[in-house]
Subunit: 332 residues, 2 copies
């Protein structure tokens, strides 16, 4: 039995390519005292990983060249020399892109497939769902009757954001990049209206038309011109949750746009960068609420599941072409 | 005795000029039942009035063409047909640019010259001081030991912001546009360091050098490139109080600049538009605190006093050339 590792070979310039990654083979490690041997089962690939591929200080240190990449992974405990874990259990945590790896157990949470399919702990019950829920709760402070605008609306986070908006009694408008996505968010996820930004000639006017009472909360997964359109349509005391900026991640030069400060001042608007890890202490109750909504059939989700450890880099690259329907997961 | 009124003749395009204003003469009005006759004593001119000269929706309606302008004014009660006011009292409120005017008393606050010079109710004890205090309190949430950066630092609001920062035990760095202002904010107002943005070749590096521990709170009175420099130097969980954008007010085209959303996400930064009128219910305690600091000689201020009702427009225009030292006031 051989182990495999995916490392960062070179930092992407612009859109990532397969050449940026390297797959190597090695021996399966042996767990020491207090350690576990883990086998990766499901690997989450997410747009934010692009940021860690840049050589710059951020909320997590950048990936190092020649070192394994990492992301949210569900793994099975194959051997345990740690009294807190038992062989056959499943755990969730930030783990390396390796088929097999050892861990001292720090930062790992047990997950139970009796309650929900294991994969959902990377999606709607994992950081994806928590990002949607806590972003709306902590920064958006969304109130019944308000208008919620969401970009990347057909994506893993966006689709949960919109559904929570509907549960809370809001008008929910989504922005996405294909007719198929536009249909999906209205039919499957219950959004009130949707805008295809790729075929809309004037995004400002499209947002205005879809949000006749203005925008109260904008959950931004994309940044750029769609953020500009949201800002000019915001009501007084509007809130922008800056969760992602996928439209900018692959830019090689500093992106520019209209200045936001006159708009913020004019309408007392708040914009705030949101990182779900800042709210770890709120994960427990948030997860319970999400699970409850799932049981009540108020919250649904889609996944795009790619097979094969070797396909992790391609699955990651496909995120930037919007090829995923909902959460992108690689099954090892 | 003739009355005089200053009206908006035409909306400024770019920097305001005297031609945008018109002075007319009329009879002194007679107060009806329940009304007062007021004589303007001190008139506040402020950069934010430029925004109201534009024909666009904002937090206050725009000025109308051919109608009198208005701003914060201290006036004397010359006659009173209103039981709540007595002849000889002084009041503070949003009043028209008229030598004499009637009022039903709504929105007027009495001011007492025994406690402080009347003019200070337009400055450090008025909206100016309240803007500094409440902006730091409500959005900045400034903590002891943090680094506070202030632009427009030698101005009416900025100089109070910096002094409050020192009272709270912070490192305070100011940005202003002349050597004389740079000296003044350090020597008179006790700032720890100061940057002359007009002679600095690289404002990003200058901010980095003056803020070796990064910027925790940035109180922005100017917007534009100085805001950009603050953002790239901000620490995690940094807060930006978007109070003014004087560098952009006279632009005729939509100003552009580097996009902020990647920086907000990277460091969980908050930016929020601040309008002091959103916090009217906090004015009382805030004013008490400011008055106490003045009595204790912890808070000082400068004024530029211009004489003559007819000179209100010129005093307003001079704000955009930075000709004022501290609060600009016209004594009628």
């Amino acid at each position: 039995m051989k182990n495999k590792t995916i490392s960062l070979k070179e930092r992407p310039s612009g859109k990532p390519t397969l050449n940026n990654f390297e797959i190597s083979e090695e021996e399966v490690p042996k767990p020491k005292d207090g350690e576990l041997l883990l086998q990766a089962k499901y690997v989450s690939v997410d747009p934010y990983l692009r940021g860690r591929m840049r050589d710059q200080k951020s909320y997590i240190p950048p990936f190092e060249l020649g070192k394994p990449l990492e992301s949210g992974i569900i793994a099975e405990v194959l051997e345990s020399n740690n009294k807190n874990f038992t062989k056959g259990e499943f755990v969730n945590g930030m783990l390396q892109w390796k088929k097999f790896q050892t861990s001292n157990g720090n930062g790992l949470n047990k997950v139970d497939r009796k309650h929900a399919p294991l994969k959902t702990y990377l999606g709607v019950l994992g950081l994806t769902g928590l990002t949607a829920y806590l972003g709306l709760e902590k920064i958006g402070k969304l109130q019944k009757g308000e208008t919620l605008l969401v970009s990347g609306a057909a994506g893993a986070v966006g689709s949960v954001v919109g559904q929570i908006g509907k549960i809370k009694g809001c008008r929910v408008v989504g922005i996405a990049g294909s007719e198929e996505k536009i249909d999906r968010i209205q039919e499957k996820f219950g959004f009130d209206a949707a805008i295809n930004y790729k075929t809309t000639t004037n995004i400002n006017k499209a947002v205005a038309a879809a949000c006749p009472n203005g925008v109260d909360v904008y959950f931004d997964n994309v940044g750029g011109e769609i953020l500009d359109a949201a800002l000019v349509n915001m009501n007084r005391y509007g809130r922008v949750i800056n969760c992602g900026a996928i439209s900018l991640y692959n830019k090689t030069e500093t992106p520019t746009g209209p200045r936001v400060e006159p708009l913020l001042i004019k309408n007392s608007i708040l914009m705030q960068g949101f990182i779900v890890r800042d709210f770890v202490k709120d994960f427990g109750p948030a997860q319970k609420q999400l699970a409850k909504w799932m049981e009540e059939d108020k919250l649904t989700y889609l996944e795009t599941v790619v097979e094969g450890f070797e396909n992790i880099p391609q699955a990651f690259i496909d995120l930037f072409d919007g090829k995923n329907k909902g959460k992108m997961i690689v099954v090892v």
